[in-house]
């Protein structure tokens, strides 16, 4: 790839802009950034519109923008699971997550594991939830770097030797600095810029490219016939349906989603956003179709992109398409959108992982007596550690590891579903039963994923009928079964149930002091 100076200049200009915004955001909705709920949740002050941008920037990541069309490009219809995935998630969020917001505000919880600790009074179950969150988040941060790596390479920036990773390191150093300085306010402010840029890019693509190749018919007819639809059999249907349901069940259990939810200023903000966030789902559907556009334009056969495809596989489809159909300055704009799209979720994820470590490992097990300022300082340091870890992951391990780990991350995080989601409604389940169910689900899911060579679908033989389904669904089903069965046993033995939350906590409108409960 020749160095694309115009695109690179535009790209760098936008990075300078967001760096400035990232630092300036420390003064936005002013709070004492030496306190964890101010640094890590922006004091819970975000209204409907900012939460919409923040969650949009958080959930629909740079990796999504690269990987979903790459899947469409290589495998066709199945990539569209991203659309029903985000259709079924929001009615669920509408009903369930205002309860999490309320109980968190009533009791001053900052993480999911804080809630588990308070609800079940069991530090080991809380530790399991915290570790699952950290473990699932780390490869996800690493994958954001892959998105960034692809667009940097697409602009022809190819440094040799020890300079190979310099652009990534610079981008992450900027990210780490404004994150440390401004906390969650930084990604929230930057998300507004990034989301608007993504909307502009995608709508430009949707208007320009079909006109260029001769209409949508041409685009769809370029897709290989057997990939245009799912295979017409039961297994293909169960595979598709469980993939989107399982992904949906997992999505809002991720620490970065919980952070987004808890930073909103009221439970109504969450309810409103459940109706407004699907706008991004529509965008994601269009982004998936970029994969088909790349087929129709025929980028894979073009010699100029051969080195990109050799290095990044189908993940290079969208960057190649952008370079092919847009003028250089707009390609720079689009790549900046994707690149900044990597920074926003990476920032929120590392803040969320840092909150979990600080609250549920450091303060719970290492320094219970630590004061609020030490706590906030610890979290800031841990957010740096999380980013350095992700960077080392990408530099020293093959990208395939990060992708496999992220698949495992989805299977692992869904194992927190019984404790978290059912816990928002009932205290009937026993914490020890939930912990054993979690262990069973983690082991079962990991073994299944390993046996399929890290493909998401497992073909389970149930009484002679083979039913292909998403591993997360099978493993969480086992988790549910174990948790319920053992809760029956343990509840029969003892009636004592520790629980610091009150039924009314799940519907409160504000914390004890009207703000954050501390």
């Amino acid at each position: 790839m020749p160095l694309n100076i115009t695109a690179l200049v535009v790209f760098i200009l936008f990075f300078v802009l967001v760096t400035f915004v990232g630092f300036a955001s420390a003064r936005w909705k002013k709070g004492d950034l030496d306190l964890l709920h101010e640094w890590g949740l922006a004091g819970g002050r975000f209204g409907t519109l900012i939460t919409w941008f923040l969650l949009g920037g958080d959930l629909y990541t740079a990796y999504t923008f690269i990987a979903v069309p790459a899947l469409a490009f290589g495998a066709g219809a199945v990539a569209f699971f991203a659309v029903p995935y985000t259709i079924v998630i929001y009615p669920f969020v509408f009903v369930v997550f205002p309860r999490l917001w309320s109980v968190a505000r009533a009791r001053g919880y900052i993480t999911a594991a804080d809630f588990i600790r308070g609800r079940y009074g069991d530090r080991w179950l809380a530790l399991a939830i915290a570790l699952t969150g950290i473990l699932a988040t780390m490869p996800y941060i690493a994958l954001q770097l892959v998105g960034l790596e692809v667009v940097i390479a697409a602009m022809g920036v190819q440094l040799g030797g020890f300079l190979l990773y310099l652009p990534l390191i610079i981008a992450f150093a900027i990210l780490a600095a404004f994150d440390y300085f401004s906390g969650l306010r930084a990604p929230a402010a930057i998300a507004i810029i990034k989301d608007l840029m993504i909307y502009v890019t995608v709508f430009a693509a949707v208007f320009v490219i079909p006109a260029e190749v001769g209409g949508w018919e041409k685009i769809f007819s370029a897709v290989p016939q057997q990939q245009l639809l799912l295979a017409d059999n039961f297994g293909a249907y169960t595979g598709y349906a469980t993939l989107f349901v399982g992904s949906a069940m997992a999505l809002f259990l991720y620490p970065h989603s919980v952070t987004g939810v808890l930073s909103s200023s009221s439970r109504h903000v969450i309810r409103r956003n459940a109706a407004l966030l699907p706008a991004y789902s529509f965008l994601l559907g269009l982004i998936a179709l970029l994969g088909f556009m790349a087929i129709a334009v025929g980028v894979k056969a073009m010699p100029v992109y051969a080195s990109g495809f050799a290095q990044f596989g189908n993940n290079f489809a969208v960057p190649a398409l952008i370079l092919q159909v847009f003028p250089a300055w707009f390609a720079g704009f689009a790549f900046a959108a994707i690149g900044i799209g990597a920074l926003v979720p990476a920032a929120i994820m590392s803040i969320a992982a840092a909150n979990l470590f600080t609250r549920n490992i450091y303060r719970e097990f290492i320094r219970p007596e630590c004061d609020p300022r030490t706590e906030a300082r610890m979290a800031k340091t841990m957010s740096l550690v999380a980013k350095v870890g992700a960077l080392l992951f990408i530099i020293y391990l093959p990208t395939a590891y990060a992708i496999n780990m992220q698949l495992l991350g989805g299977i692992w995080i869904i194992q927190t579903f019984p404790a978290m989601i059912l816990g928002l409604y009932t205290r009937w389940l026993d914490p020890k039963a939930l912990l054993i169910g979690w262990v069973a689900g983690m082991i079962c899911g990991t073994l299944m994923a390993w046996s399929t060579g890290f493909a998401p679908i497992y073909r389970l033989d149930i009484f002679g009928t083979v039913i292909p389904a998403y591993i997360a669904i099978y493993s969480v089903a086992l988790n549910f079964a174990v948790s319920f069965a053992l809760s029956f046993v343990f509840n029969a033995q003892s009636k004592a149930r520790e629980d610091e939350t009150m039924p009314g906590d799940y519907a409160v409108e504000a914390g004890p002091s009207g703000g954050f409960g501390h």
């Binding site: 079924v88 309320s102 209409g215 309810r271 799940y506």
Partner: protein
């Protein structure tokens, strides 16, 4: 179980509307090319269109339950 903001008494029925988006689980229904719309096979425009159905349903339920779920 206790009140879920939306209200266990009175406004709960409308929550059942939220089951409508889940009809997208019936994959064989939309796994077909015809009828096409603006060149989009049914598989694609149905799922994209269902996003709007989902948004409208959620908005309707929001407005129907908001009086019980008092805003500041």
């Amino acid at each position: 179980m206790d009140n879920n903001g939306a209200g266990r008494n009175g406004g709960l029925g409308v929550l059942w509307l939220l089951a409508i988006p889940f009809l997208v689980l019936w994959v064989p229904f939309y796994n077909r090319v015809e009828p096409t719309l603006f060149g989009f096979p049914f598989f694609y425009w149905f799922q994209l269109g269902w996003i709007f159905v989902s948004m409208i349903v959620t908005a309707v339920v929001y407005y129907a339950t908001e009086p019980q779920d008092k805003t500041r």
